[in-house]
């Protein structure tokens, strides 16, 4: 009997994997539901066990099944692991992607699972922290804070209880690596959290998953039920978010876990000192935590530290999304140029039109024009270019994109999702939307009643043209950048100002002359 592997990742399901699986069952095949390889343009991707080993086919529909089974399907892609998209990657965090059944403890143990936890538990907590520090691992959620140093702080902080919290509130558009890991390799996340718990002395952990990911919540809950004896005495629970983007910010996530409004907390105190319920708390992203089993396995820390460039060590799962021909997850060592990712690996746009821009790092990331695609994927290089890599999402736009409309969207998103705690973000975003509307419709603004008063010596009496509005927007972005409590208000200037700088022609008629924008 022929065995067939089909992913049960929610992206594969959204592309019709269940119907394909059911059709294979009707054709008399044995169907194994595995995680996704992460080649999303080929989903539903089917692997069939034949005389020459496993062969991949995709994207498959139920109508393709007879041709797939008799070997005549034009959708054959050969051995999936040899596909250039997979073969070019350095998969450490995504090593199991496509290869194991997500909820099979047998598959997990057979692919090196629990080796990291067993080795960590045989070491003293301080030695575990030292190894993670040596690996050079930095927080993969976006801020890039050195993981070992955060743990050291929690381990040293006095407290009768300590917590490990996984930030799985992956709200950034263009990112799905957390979701794929939670759905495809949930035991790796559980193992990673158990390693942290041992290192810092925590007995309880929470995984805060956004409610937009029902499949991830179901998989994790099932996986925790299965693995509970393996990680005991450490206890782990899944908590669902409630549709607030801001809860991806760690302090508002902690408030949400406590059952409060997801408002940002002022820092200090750091969560490492006074976090969940006021206790010392490690808050790490899914990608950070799932990197740990590999790092803690024998020789893992050294291998990790060898990869990457400068202060960005190890690998980063990069997510290729938006208008891109070959979208999916591409894990590789830091340092790869953006152009190679988008044009070479991603194959350019899905629409076949020229690339106009790429937004890297989610809704708060800068829009980067093709002339800057030589930028290497590295925390510091992006920061120096007034951009950020964030969670590693790359959203590609073709030449039909209206950058003025995208800048307005970014400002409006900030207004809708602002938690309301600090003024620059709460009010600045609303004023920013109004300003962008005025700049884009080119109407300008007449002198108002107060400005017309003779006492208002410094107010313009000639009305406000576009240049004045652009200057005001620039100033407003500056205020939001330096005056906001967290990254939502603090980073909204990235998409807005980068769009205005590189595509002024998309902001209505003449904003800046060609000589001003270089």
């Amino acid at each position: 009997m022929t065995t067939v592997r089909i992913s049960d990742d929610s992206l594969a399901l959204a592309c019709g994997a269940d119907a394909v699986a059911a059709a294979f069952l009707r054709a008399g095949c044995t169907v194994e539901r595995v995680s996704s390889w992460g080649m999303h343009w080929l989903e539903p991707l089917v692997e069939v066990d034949g005389p020459d080993g496993w062969t991949g086919f995709g994207p498959a529909t139920p109508a393709d099944i007879p041709a797939i089974l008799d070997g005549t399907s034009p959708k054959a892609i050969g051995r999936v692991a040899d596909h250039p998209f997979i073969a070019r990657q350095q998969r450490l965090t995504f090593a199991r992607a496509g290869r194991t059944r997500p909820l099979s403890m047998e598959d997990y143990a057979a692919t090196g699972g629990w080796a990291g936890l067993d080795r960590a538990r045989a070491l003293a907590p301080a030695e575990v922290i030292a190894e993670v520090t040596r690996s050079g691992l930095r927080g993969r959620g976006g801020a890039g804070f050195p993981t070992g140093i955060k743990w050291r702080t929690v381990a040293d902080a006095p407290g009768d209880r300590k917590y490990v919290v996984c930030n799985a509130d992956e709200g950034d558009s263009g990112t799905f690596a957390d979701r794929m890991l939670m759905e495809g390799d949930p035991f790796a996340l559980i193992e990673g959290m158990a390693i942290v718990a041992h290192a810092v002395g925590a007995a309880q952990g929470y995984i805060y998953v956004r409610s937009e990911y029902p499949h991830a919540i179901a998989k994790l809950s099932a996986a925790i039920g299965i693995a509970a004896p393996r990680i005991a005495p450490f206890r782990l629970d899944v908590r669902a978010g409630a549709g607030a983007y801001i809860c991806g910010e760690e302090t508002s996530l902690l408030n949400s876990l406590e059952g409060k409004r997801g408002e940002v907390r002022a820092k200090p105190p750091l969560p490492a000192i006074a976090g969940l319920f006021g206790k010392p708390t490690v808050v790490n992203n899914v990608l950070t935590l799932t990197a740990l089993p590999h790092i803690m396995a024998a020789g893992g820390a050294e291998e990790y530290a060898r990869l990457g460039i400068d202060r960005s060590r190890g690998t980063k799962p990069i997510q290729l999304a938006g208008n891109i021909r070959h979208g999916g997850v591409f894990e590789t060592a830091f340092g790869i140029p953006l152009r190679e990712l988008i044009e070479d690996i991603g194959g350019g746009t899905a629409s076949g039109r020229p690339v106009k821009a790429a937004q890297v790092g989610g809704p708060l990331g800068a829009y980067i024009p093709p002339s800057r695609f030589d930028l290497p994927f590295d925390y510091e290089a992006f920061a120096a270019a007034d951009a950020m890599i964030g969670h590693g999402g790359v959203v590609v736009f073709d030449d039909s994109a209206d950058m003025g409309s995208l800048a307005r969207f970014a400002m409006d998103f900030c207004a809708v999702e602002s938690c309301g705690k600090c003024t620059p973000c709460r009010i600045g975003s609303t004023r920013g939307v109004e300003l962008l509307d005025r700049i884009r419709d080119g109407a300008g603004r007449a002198v108002d009643a107060v400005e017309a008063l003779p006492q208002m010596h410094n107010a313009s009496k000639a009305g406000h043209g576009r240049e004045a509005d652009v200057a005001l927007l620039t100033d407003l972005c500056e205020t939001m950048r330096f005056g906001s409590l967290c990254a939502l208000g603090g980073f909204t200037h990235y998409p807005v100002m980068s769009a205005l700088e590189h595509w002024p022609e998309d902001f209505g008629p003449k904003v800046l002359g060609p000589e001003e924008c270089g």
Partner: protein, 138 residues
């Protein structure tokens, strides 16, 4: 014991029980209304204002039930790059007053958008016919 009291009792012993309670109440009644807020507040020793503050903060909780079926269409950047905005007029026409067509910012299907969610099922690579069919079947 009524449904609400049973939900509260289920979570009362856990740490930070308010959000799990609100999720279950929303699922059971389609909303968290003023009466439910009062009962939850009293059980958790919170003020009604505190509970109302939480309910009104999160997009997932509603003050009154909406009996219409809901289709969530992703309108975030990656789906915009793949042309979701061009589908909106047809989607609104198909939804009419019968279906609640709501915005969601990212379902994590950013490489195969436009994407939508109905209940716990997700749909990708939507075009006008596929999205219209999805809304009409909701």
């Amino acid at each position: 014991m009524d449904t609400l009291a049973r939900i509260i009792a289920q979570h009362a012993a856990s740490e930070g029980p308010l959000l799990p309670i609100l999720h279950d109440v929303q699922a059971a009644f389609g909303c968290v209304d003023a009466a439910a807020e009062a009962q939850i507040a009293s059980a958790l020793n919170l003020s009604r204002a505190e509970v109302h503050g939480v309910v009104s903060f999160y997009h997932d909780f509603r003050a009154s039930a909406d009996p219409r079926p809901e289709v969530q269409l992703c309108r975030a950047e990656a789906c915009q790059a793949r042309g979701v905005e061009a589908l909106v007029p047809a989607a609104e026409a198909a939804a009419g007053q019968r279906v609640r067509l709501s915005k969601v910012y990212c379902l994590g299907l950013c490489s195969v958008g436009p994407a939508a969610r109905v209940g716990d099922t997700v749909h990708a690579r939507l075009d006008v016919p596929a999205l219209t069919a999805l809304i009409e079947a909701a």
